[in-house]
C-alpha cells in the first residue's frame, strides 16, 4: 500500500533514526575491534590497529571456543535439517488428529524462554544420570533449531505444486527417485536457508547452552565470562566482531537465497 502523498518529516526522521538505532551497536563493535587503546571503553577512539586480531587468534582458549562452536553448530544444523525436513514432509499436506498439537510442540522451544528449555533439559539430563558434555549441548541446540528448518521447508513444500510429485510418479519414478530427482532440487534452497539460519542460531546461542554445557565453553559463553569479569577488553572486542560476522553473513546469504528463488518462481507464472 504505497502512498503517493508526501511523507511528513518527523516520520521519515523516526524511520531512519530507528534504523540507525538498530545498527549503531553493531557499528560500535566493529569500530572498537580496531581501536588501539587497551584499557577501557573510552570514546573517542584513539587509533587504528589490527594487532588485537593477531593477539586474539593466538589465544588457545579462543581458538578452542571457536572450534567447539563450529562443531556444535555443524552437527546441530545437520540434525535439525534431517528432523525438520522429515517433520515438514509429514505435516505439509495431510491433516489428521493431533496435527496442530505436533506443530505446537515444534514451535514451543522458541516460543518458551530459553531459560525454561535450558533448565528443563538440564534437570532431565541429571535425572537420567547423564554427564553434561558436547552432546548435551548439541541436544539442547537441536531442540530449538528444528523449527527454523521446519518453517522454511514446509513453506516451500506448500508452494511446490503437489502435481510435480504426482507427475514424477506418473512418469514411472518410485518414492525414492521422486525424492532425489524432484523434491530435493525443489526444496534445496529452502533447506539451505533453513540450515544457515539454524547454524547462526546455534553458533550464537547462549541461554540454553549455559545449562546444557559441561566444562566446555562455546564462543558466546567465553564472551559472557569476559563480560562478567572484564579482562582483555580489546581481545573481547575482536571476538565480539567475529561472532557478529559469523551470524550476520549466513543470514544475508539465507535472505538472498530465498529471495532469489521467489523471484524466479514468480517470473515463471
Amino acid at each position: 500500500m504505497r502512498s503517493d502523498g508526501k511523507c511528513p518529516f518527523w516520520l521519515k526522521f523516526v524511520a531512519f533514526g530507528g534504523i540507525f538505532f538498530l545498527h549503531f551497536p553493531i557499528i560500535v563493535i566493529a569500530a572498537y575491534a580496531f581501536n588501539t587503546e587497551e584499557s577501557a571503553f573510552s570514546f573517542p577512539l584513539q587509533g587504528f590497529t589490527l594487532k588485537w586480531f593477531a593477539a586474539a587468534f593466538a589465544r588457545q582458549d579462543i581458538l578452542d571456543a571457536i572450534t567447539l562452536s563450529l562443531k556444535v553448530a555443524s552437527i546441530t544444523t545437520a540434525a535439525a535439517i534431517v528432523l525438520g525436513t522429515m517433520a515438514a514432509a509429514a505435516l505439509y499436506r495431510r491433516s489428521f488428529f493431533g496435527k496442530e498439537t505436533i506443530t505446537l510442540i515444534f514451535i514451543l522451544p522458541i516460543a518458551l524462554p530459553g531459560i525454561i528449555t535450558g533448565i528443563a533439559l538440564l534437570s532431565a539430563f541429571r535425572m537420567a544420570g547423564w554427564d553434561l558434555n558436547f552432546w548435551t549441548i548439541v541436544a539442547g541446540h537441536t531442540t530449538f533449531c528444528v523449527v527454523v528448518v521446519y518453517n522454511n521447508v514446509i513453506a516451500r513444500f506448500r508452494r511446490t505444486s503437489q502435481n510435480l510429485i504426482e507427475a514424477s510418479m506418473d512418469l514411472g519414478a518410485d518414492g525414492m527417485q521422486t525424492f532425489f530427482h524432484i523434491i530435493l532440487p525443489n526444496i534445496a534452497t529452502a533447506l539451505l536457508a533453513g540450515g544457515v539460519l539454524a547454524f547462526a542460531l546455534s553458533f550464537d546461542e547462549i541461554i540454553v547452552t549455559t545449562f546444557t554445557a559441561g566444562p566446555e565453553r562455546t564462543l558466546p559463553i567465553w564472551l559472557l565470562n569476559q563480560l562478567t569479569r572484564p579482562r582483555d577488553v580489546p581481545i573481547t572486542n575482536v571476538v565480539a566482531l567475529v561472532v557478529m560476522m559469523a551470524t550476520l553473513i549466513p543470514i544475508l546469504c539465507a535472505y538472498y537465497m530465498t529471495r532469489g528463488k521467489e523471484s524466479i518462481e514468480g517470473s515463471g507464472k
Partner: protein, 311 residues
C-alpha cells in the same frame, strides 16, 4: 540375471510400493524421529521440571529430596520473591510499550513510503540486527553506556550532562550510571527486541487496504483521527503479535538483567542463581512455572485479539 544392482533396484521398488500402499506407515516413519525427540526428550524434560518443582529442598544438607511439597510455590508468594515477579512483569510491559511506540512509525514508513531500493533496504536493515548475535549486541551496549563511553561523551558534548544526572536521580527509572539504571536496562531490552515488534506490525499494516485511509480522509477525518479510528484498530493484531515477542522474551531473559541495570533479581536471574549457585532445583523449577503461566495467559489473550493471523 539377478545381479546385485538389479536386486537392489527391486528392493527399493518394493519398499516404495509398500510405503505407497501403507501411507500411514510412511507418515509414521517420517514423524517418528522428530516426535521421539520432541515428545520424549523435550516434553519429557518439561514434565521432569514440573515434577521437580514439587520436590523438597533441604536447607541444611543442601540436597533435593523427592518428597512432594507445595512449599516452593508458597515461597513464590513471599514478598522478596513476589517482588521479583512484579519487577519482571513491569519491565516486560514497559519494553513492549516502548517497542510499540518506536516500532509503529518505522513499520508504517516501511509500508507506506519505502519504495524502490528503500523497500529491500529497510527489510534487511530490520532483519540483520534481529539475527545478529544477541550476546554481542548486549555487550556492545555495555560498551556504549559505560561511564566515559560513547553515550556519556555525546551527552556531555551536547551539554546535557546535568539533565542526565537529574534524570537518573528519579525513582523507578534511575540508577547510579546509565549502565546500572533501569532506564539503561529498558533501552537495551527494547533495542534487542525491537525488530520482533516491527515485522509483525509491518505485515499487518501491509494488509490494510490503503483506500480505507483515503476514504477516512475523504470523509473529513484529520490525520490524527484517521490514525486513532482506522489505522490503529486495524493494525492492532500486528502490535499484539509483536508484543508476544517483546513481552515473552523479556519475561524469560536473564543475560540482560545480569549485565545492565541495577542489582535486584529478575525471574531469569533468580532461576539461574537458585539452580546454579544454591543448587535448589525445586525452587528454580517453581520459578520457571511463573513465565510459563504468564506467557500462556498472554498467548491466550493474543489469540483472542487475532494476533496469530498477523504472525
Amino acid at each position: 540375471m539377478t545381479t546385485p544392482v538389479k536386486s537392489h533396484i527391486a528392493l527399493r521398488r518394493n519398499i516404495s510400493s509398500f510405503l505407497y500402499r501403507r501411507s500411514t506407515v510412511y507418515l509414521l516413519l517420517l514423524l517418528l524421529p522428530p516426535l521421539l525427540w520432541f515428545g520424549i526428550v523435550y516434553l519429557g524434560s518439561l514434565l521432569a521440571l514440573l515434577v521437580q518443582s514439587g520436590y523438597t529442598f533441604d536447607d541444611f544438607s543442601m540436597t533435593v529430596l523427592p518428597v512432594f511439597t507445595w512449599k516452593n510455590y508458597q515461597n513464590l508468594l513471599l514478598a522478596a520473591n513476589f517482588d521479583i515477579v512484579l519487577r519482571t512483569f513491569a519491565m516486560a510491559t514497559a519494553v513492549s510499550l516502548f517497542c510499540a511506540c518506536l516500532g509503529f512509525p518505522i513499520a508504517y514508513y516501511m509500508v507506506r513510503y519505502a519504495g524502490g531500493w528503500q523497500r529491500g533496504f529497510f527489510y534487511i536493515a530490520v532483519l540483520l540486527p534481529m539475527w545478529a548475535s544477541y550476546i554481542v549486541k548486549v555487550y556492545s551496549w555495555t560498551v556504549i553506556l559505560a561511564k566515559g563511553g560513547i553515550a556519556y561523551w555525546f551527552i556531555n558534548q551536547a551539554g546535557l550532562g546535568h539533565a542526565l544526572e537529574s534524570l537518573l536521580a528519579l525513582p523507578f527509572i534511575g540508577g547510579n550510571t546509565l549502565s546500572t539504571s533501569h532506564l539503561g536496562r529498558l533501552l537495551v531490552f527494547s533495542y534487542v527486541w525491537l525488530p520482533f515488534m516491527i515485522l509483525p506490525i509491518q505485515s499487518s499494516i501491509e494488509r490494510i487496504n490503503p483506500n480505507l485511509l483515503t476514504a477516512s480522509a475523504d470523509l473529513g477525518a484529520r490525520p490524527g483521527q484517521t490514525f486513532r479510528t482506522i489505522l490503529l484498530p486495524l493494525a492492532m493484531p500486528g502490535v499484539v503479535a509483536g508484543s508476544i515477542f517483546t513481552f515473552c522474551l523479556t519475561f524469560g531473559d536473564y543475560i540482560i538483567p545480569t549485565l545492565v541495570g541495577p542489582s535486584g533479581f529478575f525471574i531469569g536471574t533468580m532461576v539461574y542463581t537458585q539452580q546454579g549457585a544454591i543448587g535448589n532445583m525445586p525452587m528454580a523449577a517453581a520459578f520457571t512455572v511463573v513465565p510459563i503461566v504468564v506467557i500462556g495467559l498472554y498467548l491466550t489473550f493474543a489469540k483472542r485479539m487475532g494476533a496469530f493471523d498477523a504472525l
